[in-house]
């Protein structure tokens, strides 16, 4: 009998899970007796909360850190860490099936899904040590588990305990957004919170939502052998990304055998005979598909409910999260927010960076601005899609003249030798200058490559300098230098032409 593939699926109670629970929320944990007053109380022990706690402790502050569930938050428990572990194995299987392309042979490929998921949980458990309760306590953090409610401008409750604070940081993150599809809840569905608990591969999987998480998991499950359909109510995946990047991803999905339904919404779900019937609507075209599991909730909503934010005078929006200014201060001058609960860019490193800004601004009289962060991100599909800085359409709307230097990966030797020539590097500069405004990279290892551009932007290095940086040959990152060299060539041409004209003018006088 197949598992129900719904929210009741819990992680197998194995040694990995025992260790993770012991690290991140030990059952026997007793909250400490609160201090009279904390200089900093942090609500939420995800990426932002832990980063803030570490910095604040290093600065010698008295810190309380409160978590409702597991330390490490979404990234460690139900996000980046398990999904990247899963994707690595999925890619391996995809490469094995693709062996002939490399002149290799791999017959009778059989996916051992239980082993795949065992590895995912082992790695998650292994990495949980880095954020463990013991480590936090050892640093000197007062670690509390429980539900938080604000009781006033400088007071909050953790269950029945009262904590008073000089400053507070709200870093409660987000949770999956469940689309309002009739019958979905009754029929049962998976989200990122439950999907990594699976021990059996759903034969037929429907993914509702074509954002980064939906795309990553759709492809990974396809590569592991599920028959995957992905439904997206927009004309392309990854709405935020450049059209060409999203188009390449659509093509890659087609290559992988994923059934792509763009401009399509799920309108109803019914459980019948152990399967789920899902009605789909695309413009005026109606259809029904039968699947074993539905993965959704790949959009996110901020965790702002139940905190009694009103009692502390903290403004928020149920969809957009906590309202903050560019210094991450809320409408209560004692309270800041950081991470996904207040940010549009919901990435682990951005959450941590924003938390450090808060600690700086709250205790060092810092005036660090969120808008000054240069934030790269990556969707870990095959190929990966990475971006940093401005998009062309943003620049156009802001009236910033922008020019893009494009290098298709098929121009790069290492991409060709690796049979990974799909994709491109696009570097956007302010027209007439070599100042980098942003970049998009689509490549097998785009996530690794984008870091060079981010470094250049932070250090204010232009394309002229990048063109002089010799890259190890052959590497795929050479595509970045090729883009820089293309810029240099446009400059040389202009300069030479101008000199020639001057020279000609003199000689013909």
């Amino acid at each position: 009998m197949s598992p129900p593939f719904d929210a009741t699926i819990t992680a197998p109670q194995d040694a990995w899970e025992d260790k993770r629970v012991a690290d991140l929320h030990p059952a026997a944990w007793a909250n400490p007796k609160p201090a009279d007053r904390y200089q900093l109380v942090i609500i939420g022990a995800g990426s932002a909360g832990v980063a803030a706690a570490e910095l604040a402790i290093a600065m010698g502050l008295k810190v309380a850190l409160i978590e409702r569930h597991f330390i490490g938050g979404t990234c460690l428990n139900t996000g980046c860490v398990p999904s990247k572990a899963l994707i690595r194995t999925a890619r391996l299987y995809a490469d094995m099936r693709n062996a002939a392309r490399y002149g290799a042979k791999a017959d009778n490929i059989e996916v051992d899904f239980t082993a795949v998921m065992d590895r995912v949980r082992r790695i998650r458990s292994h990495l949980s040590g880095g954020s463990s309760v013991r480590r936090m306590a050892k640093l000197g953090v007062d670690m509390f588990f429980g539900n938080v409610r604000f009781a006033g401008d400088d007071t909050l409750m953790v269950n029945e305990l009262t904590l008073r604070f000089g400053k507070a940081l709200i870093a409660t993150g987000t949770r999956p957004h469940i689309p309002d599809v009739p019958g979905l809840r009754e029929a049962g569905f998976l989200t990122n919170a439950t999907v990594f608990n699976l021990t059996e591969l759903p034969k037929r999987l429907l993914v509702i939502g074509g954002g980064p998480v939906g795309c990553e998991l759709a492809q990974a499950f396809r590569q592991l052998g599920s028959k995957v359909t992905i439904v997206q109510d927009k004309p392309l995946f990854l709405e935020r990304e450049e059209r060409d990047a999203a188009q390449i991803l659509s093509d890659a999905f087609g290559r992988d055998g994923i059934e792509v339904r763009l401009n399509t919404t799920a309108t109803a779900v019914r459980a019948e005979n152990g399967a789920k019937q899902v009605d789909l609507l695309s413009a005026d075209y109606k259809s029904t598909i039968e699947v074993d599991a539905i993965l959704t909730g790949v959009g996110r909503v901020p965790n702002v409910q139940g905190l009694d934010l009103e009692k502390a005078g903290i403004k928020y929006d149920a969809k957009k999260g906590i309202a903050v200014d560019d210094f991450l201060l809320t409408s209560n001058p004692r309270v800041y927010a950081a991470g996904d609960v207040c940010l549009e860019d919901q990435y682990t490193d951005t959450a941590a960076a924003s938390a450090r800004i808060v600690v700086n601004n709250a205790f060092m009289r810092g005036r660090m601005r969120l808008s000054e962060l240069v934030i790269p991100w990556c969707t870990y599909t095959d190929p990966e899609i990475a971006h940093v800085g401005l998009y062309v359409r943003e620049a156009n709307l802001k009236g910033i003249p922008i020019k893009t230097f494009t290098v298709p990966m098929h121009q790069i030797d290492r991409a060709v030798t690796d049979s990974e020539e799909g994709g491109f590097v696009k570097i956007h500069v302010r027209e007439g200058t070599d100042t980098i405004l942003g970049a998009t990279i689509v490549a097998r290892h785009a996530g690794e490559m984008i870091n060079e551009i981010t470094l250049a932007m932070v250090a204010k290095i232009g394309l002229r300098t990048l063109a002089r940086v010799i890259h190890a040959y052959p590497t795929q990152a050479e595509a970045i230098r090729e883009a820089a060299k293309a810029y240099s060539r446009t400059r040389i041409t202009t300069r030479l032409r101008a000199r020639l004209q001057k020279w000609l003018a003199r000689t013909t006088e």
Binding site: A100, R243, A283, D284, K403, T404, T406, P408, E421, Y487
Partner: protein, 438 residues
């Protein structure tokens, strides 16, 4: 074996152009002037192909391939049909708000295939009507009626409605579900659509609509060429079939110190470079064998002689450098770049026809061919002909040879007003510019 590639340029072009024009006489329904989308059996009408037909009749009259009276008769039949057609927007009507469904029944002219009310295809139809109106200027009852019909159809189009309150024009509408929920993003063949929509004295789009569209443009340096990016060749051609975009510039092109005509020339160089690099190692590709565009193509059902990881796309908007690319090339798309880069296009056409003569029958070019997909040891060849291909070939050869269509449309006040509204300046659009000046 065809002797065509051995002829002089002028003789070769003449034969190609005349053969392409023959498509329209063979597929038109003389009763209502409607023209088939393709030469295949049971093909419906494509309204865009009717627009191409209306634009090609004047060429045929000038070249002596058709009597003027016959051209007027076919044109008036089509224009009357559209005037009298069901504009209720019902699911089996012909149109709504002055727009028309993309595909219609050849006899009844009613909607087929549940097709969308198409903004761009209506624009190409109306551009064809305007061309006819500019050419048939004789003071006869027939030609007077023709001009009145053209004016009526143009003025009836509710371009403002097609914005649906948004920033740019929508791509389509269906009676069953309303507007298709995506608009135009990125450079496309829509300049002629926007020009007509802005020049309308009755239902113009909002003034900032064109700017909202150009804000989605991508100005890129690719393979050493600066250009306004669009993958498929046809995007760089369709508006140019009607509008002489040499030397006139909108604010975007002024900022980039280029123009759309130069841009289409750059697109030729980029196609050549891509096929020379040939990233997917397809058969036949080189700098003189290119032409990735929207065209017919093989499907899995048609060939089992390809490897499993060679995906085939059927009819698709093929483009460079990101594909889709399955080894299918379109010779009509090469030929339609003639005005932009005559020497490169002629070189490529001769080369392609010498190597793959199967793509041409009686001097008329199939939509596409694919030497990487063998069928009985021969390259796969698209079956029959597509009206869009034949139409753009006739018009672009004519623009190269005489500039006839460009001249006609340069004298259309609607087009000129629309271009000016969109911010185009300079060249022939300057009121003081002498006739024929760039």
């Amino acid at each position: 074996m065809t002797q065509l590639p051995t002829l002089t340029d002028e003789a070769m072009l003449d034969q190609l152009q005349q053969a392409a024009f023959g498509y329209f006489l063979e597929t038109v329904n003389p009763d209502n002037g409607l023209v088939a989308d393709t030469s295949r059996e049971n093909s419906p009408v494509s309204i865009a192909v009717v627009g191409f037909a209306l634009s090609c009749y004047p060429v045929a009259v000038e070249r002596g391939w058709m009597k003027r009276a016959d051209a007027v008769r076919l044109s008036v039949a089509a224009l009357r049909f559209f005037r009298d057609s069901d504009q209720s927007g019902a699911s089996d009507a012909t149109g709504y708000k002055g727009f028309y469904y993309h595909f219609l029944d050849m006899k009844k002219g009613t909607r087929v295939w549940q097709s969308e009310l198409s903004m761009i295809d209506t624009a190409l139809l109306i551009a064809g009507a305007l061309t006819a109106g500019q050419y048939f200027t004789a003071d006869t009852p027939e030609e007077t009626e023709l001009r009145e019909l053209v004016d009526f159809l143009y003025r009836r189009v509710d371009w403002l409605w097609s914005q649906d309150g948004g920033g740019t024009i929508r791509q389509g509408w269906k009676p069953e579900s309303g507007f298709l929920h995506y608009g135009w993003e990125g450079y496309s063949e829509a300049i002629v659509l926007y020009a007509m929509a802005m020049g309308s004295p009755t239902h113009p789009i909002k003034a900032d609509c064109y700017t909202a569209w150009t804000a989605t443009y991508q100005w890129e340096n690719l393979y050493g060429h600066d250009y306004l990016y669009a993958g498929p060749l046809f995007v760089h051609q369709f508006s140019h079939a009607w509008v002489d975009l040499r030397g006139i510039r909108d604010p975007f092109m002024r900022e980039k110190n280029s123009d759309y005509f130069e841009n289409s020339r750059a697109a030729v160089y980029i196609q050549r470079r891509y096929t020379q690099l040939n990233p997917h190692e397809f058969v036949g590709y080189d700098e003189n064998c290119w032409g990735l565009s929207a065209c017919d193509g093989p499907t899995d059902e048609q060939s089992d002689a390809v490897s499993p990881d060679h995906r085939l796309f059927g009819y698709a908007g093929r483009g460079v450098p990101y594909g889709p690319d399955d080894g299918t090339l379109s010779a009509p798309a090469v030929l339609a770049s003639l005005p932009f880069a005559p020497e490169l296009v002629m070189e490529a056409m001769r080369n392609m026809l010498m190597r793959f003569p199967q793509m041409m029958v009686d001097n008329r070019l199939a939509s596409s061919f694919n030497p990487s997909v063998p069928v009985d040891d021969q390259p796969w060849i698209s079956n029959g002909y597509y009206g869009l291909d034949q139409g753009v070939v006739v018009m672009m050869i004519e623009n190269h040879r005489s500039g006839l269509i460009w001249q006609l449309m340069r004298s259309s006040t609607y087009i000129c007003d629309g271009l000016r509204q969109a911010g185009f300046e300079g060249g022939w659009l300057q009121p003081s510019a002498p006739e024929g000046a760039r």
